[in-house]
């Protein structure tokens, strides 16, 4: 059977999958009686055409980089970590505990402390399924699904019965102190000029106190942390001995065992790193945006990580690009819910379609492309009559 050229395998397969997913999404929008082109226009206007649109898109992108990297890390060890959602929620718990009970003098130290808490709790929540997989042979997919539900129940209990301040009605923790607030894009010197508001005659708009009136956006310094981590994951997987072991184990468990790579060790390390990455997402949404821990804090980002990793072909560069695509979809989907008759759930449909085409129909798309390629390829001269 013919094989695809490498460039086609790396670029064409995901692009064709994405195109098919986009086509199906357009059909869905048509089927509910709306205009797909108009929808696309609304999405573009609300995301990349305005500064505040960018502020929201990059905020979501940040979350998805974390969860996408988490899935990627486990994938390279041949493990499908479906529990990013639960690990991210536990990460939120770690952030909340670190910020509620320790008085941090400065946001940078608070960020460090909260990141440690987030990574620790996320890693712990992934370590139990990892141990069960390594030692007791229980399937990691099923256990991580179960742990998502257990995490949700645990957090409901903690937020309702333990961490909720007296007299507060909604199940959430108290607000974190002002010193723990991360600088958001409109507060970072240099970057903030992008978020100035203008009056009708083009002058910079001032607020009542005479200061510049910036547009408030949720994107924060965590975005740069996420980019650094993407680099770190790349370096770990492709430039260290441990990364080599992890990838070897993922390619062939039997061969890796034969080469003296311990299965338990790799499963544990890969899942702990994966859970830690998923947990770290909480510094973006819990610390950077909400300023307190609320119920269902991860709001689906853990699951989107699966789509991001699949779309990004399990490579950190791909993950960052795919995370941006999903940030665009997420923010654009919210805009659709606001300005058109297309419900906000459209973004779940698109997410499902992307996972379906890039993940499950991967082989099918490749088969299709291989056939197309062999149509246009010159038949090779047969040497010596051999077949």
């Amino acid at each position: 059977m013919d094989r695809l050229p490498k460039w086609a395998d790396v670029t064409l397969v995901p692009l064709v999958s994405l195109l098919l997913a986009a086509l199906c999404s357009a059909l869905v929008i048509l089927a509910i009686g709306q205009d797909p082109l108009e929808a696309l226009d609304v999405m573009i206007q609300g995301t990349v055409m305005t500064a505040s649109g960018w502020g929201y898109t990059l905020y979501y992108t940040t979350s998805f980089i974390f969860t996408g990297l988490a899935v990627t890390m486990a994938f390279h060890a041949g493990l499908f970590n479906i529990g990013g959602e639960g690990q991210a929620q536990l990460g939120g718990l770690g952030v909340a505990l670190a910020l509620l009970y320790i008085p941090w003098p400065h946001w940078s130290l608070a960020l460090l402390g909260a990141a440690c808490g987030a990574a620790l709790f996320g890693a712990l929540w992934a370590a139990i399924p990892a141990w069960l997989q390594a030692k007791r042979g229980s399937h990691i997919v099923i256990t991580t699904i179960m742990f998502n539900y257990i995490a949700a129940s645990l957090l409901i209990f903690l937020l309702v019965d333990v961490l909720r301040p007296a007299g507060q009605m909604d199940p959430a923790t108290a607000r974190f102190g002002p010193d723990a607030a991360l600088p958001r894009f409109h507060e970072i010197p240099g970057l903030q000029t992008l978020f100035q508001r203008y009056t009708a005659d083009g002058a910079v708009k001032l607020n009542a106190a005479g200061n510049i009136d910036y547009q408030i956006v949720p994107a924060n310094v965590t975005f740069f942390v996420a980019l650094l981590l993407a680099l770190g994951v790349w370096a770990l997987l492709w430039r260290t001995r441990l990364g080599y072991d992890i990838r070897a184990f993922g390619k062939s468990e039997a061969a890796a065992r034969y080469a003296g790579i311990g299965a338990t060790k790799i499963i544990m390390i890969a899942m702990i790193l994966s859970g830690g990455l998923a947990g770290l997402m909480a510094i973006n949404n819990v610390m950077g945006e909400a300023g307190r821990l609320v119920q269902n804090s991860a709001s689906g980002a853990g699951f989107i990580g699966i789509a991001v990793a699949l779309m990004g072909r399990n490579h950190p560069i791909g993950v960052v690009l795919a995370a941006f695509l999903f940030g665009f979809l997420f923010q654009g989907g919210a805009e659709l819910g606001l300005w058109t008759k297309i419900p906000i759930e459209m973004r779940i449909v698109v997410q499902g379609l992307v996972i379906l085409f890039t993940g499950a129909l991967d082989v099918g798309v490749r088969m299709l492309l291989t056939r197309l390629f062999s149509l246009f390829r010159r038949p090779k001269p047969v040497a010596g009559g051999a077949v």
């Binding site: 869905v28 069960l132 179960m146 209990f157 779940i348 499902g352 996972i355 099918g364």
Partner: protein, 322 residues
């Protein structure tokens, strides 16, 4: 707690166990044939939406049931195409279909009814009514067993009884028919089945179609019997609890029934925290009861309660020749 309260809880448990049981048996066929299906949740949701919608338009619960089965079958077919025909990753396909169902059901219901992704409430013949079994009232006089028969066994929708009939049917089909033997074989060693001249593809597709039909029953029961109409995300993780029950039961039909009854009982208990508190003398937070099925399943998976060994060829697409 008196006997009547217990009967009430058992009655609720039976009603909650029914969708779990349909979905669990559905998963049993698919997984026994060697195709992992974590898309039970999505199929149930699709079926619930189709059933709620068509029952509303036609005024007949039976039309709703047929529509529910149709919607669920469509999703089963996509799962078959991706994981059998195109040899894709079965787990990823299941995840994708769950998302698709979660989004599409709301989109369609919103388009048709404009009520925020719900169908209008169903009444009368659009729902499955309760059936009083013969002699239920007369039997009440018999101590202990009488009220149990009248309160718990009698007075459910027809689909509840069908679910339990399906357990017997599945046991018979799995262990006493040629199809069942082949089904079990194809999940363990598809190459052997292929060598015997039986099509692996056809066998697995028929298993998935049965999965689709049973999930259709589960969803239709949710929308037209347990509740009156479809609501956004109404299955609320029941597909995953059914999956947990399937593992808990170690992929066996009769054990699946007991597992679903147990998990249904937990769900019923979660509605009555006062009773739980009375029994164990400590205040048990409701979230703990909600998490119990999942925790138990983790214990079973870990092999602390006997070993749960899945069908050996599960999750791997079958490639005829190399």
């Amino acid at each position: 707690m008196d006997y009547n309260t217990l009967l009430q809880i058992l009655d609720t448990a039976l009603r909650f166990a029914t969708p779990l049981l349909f979905a669990c048996l559905a998963g049993l066929y698919s997984e026994r044939s060697g195709v992992f299906d974590i898309g039970l949740e999505g199929k149930m949701l699709a079926a619930a939406m189709c059933a709620g919608t068509m029952a509303f338009y036609s005024g007949s619960a039976w039309v709703g049931l047929a529509a529910g089965i149709g919607g669920s079958l469509l999703f089963a077919l996509i799962h078959g195409l991706t994981s059998i025909t195109f040899r894709g990753n079965q787990l990823i396909s299941g995840v994708a279909l769950n998302f698709l169902a979660a989004g599409l059901t709301v989109l369609v219901a919103q388009r048709l009814f404009g009520q925020g992704g719900r169908t209008p409430p169903l009444e009368g013949a659009a729902r499955f009514g309760t059936i009083t079994l013969p002699f239920a009232e007369e039997a009440r006089a018999i101590p202990v067993i009488g009220p149990f028969y009248a309160e718990v066994i009698s007075g459910h929708a027809l689909l509840v009884y069908i679910a339990f009939a399906c357990v017997a049917l599945t046991w018979w089909a799995l262990y006493r028919t040629r199809f069942g033997l082949r089904l079990r074989a194809v999940g363990e060693n598809p190459a052997a089945v292929d060598t015997a001249g039986i099509s692996v593809t056809r066998l697995r597709f028929s298993a998935l179609m049965i999965t689709g039909i049973l999930c259709g029953f589960a969803g239709a029961y949710m929308a037209t019997a347990l509740q009156a109409g479809f609501g956004k995300d109404m299955t609320a993780g029941r597909g995953y609890i059914a999956l947990a029950a399937l593992i808990f039961a170690k992929w066996r039909p009769v054990a699946a029934m007991w597992a679903c009854l147990l998990f249904g009982f937990f769900q019923a208990l979660a509605l009555r925290p006062d009773v739980v508190e009375w029994v164990v003398r400590v205040k048990v937070p409701v979230p703990f009861l909600d998490a119990l099925p999942y925790v138990l399943t983790v214990f079973v998976l870990a092999g602390f309660v006997g070993k749960a060994i899945p069908p050996r060829a599960g999750g791997e697409p079958y490639v005829k020749e190399r």
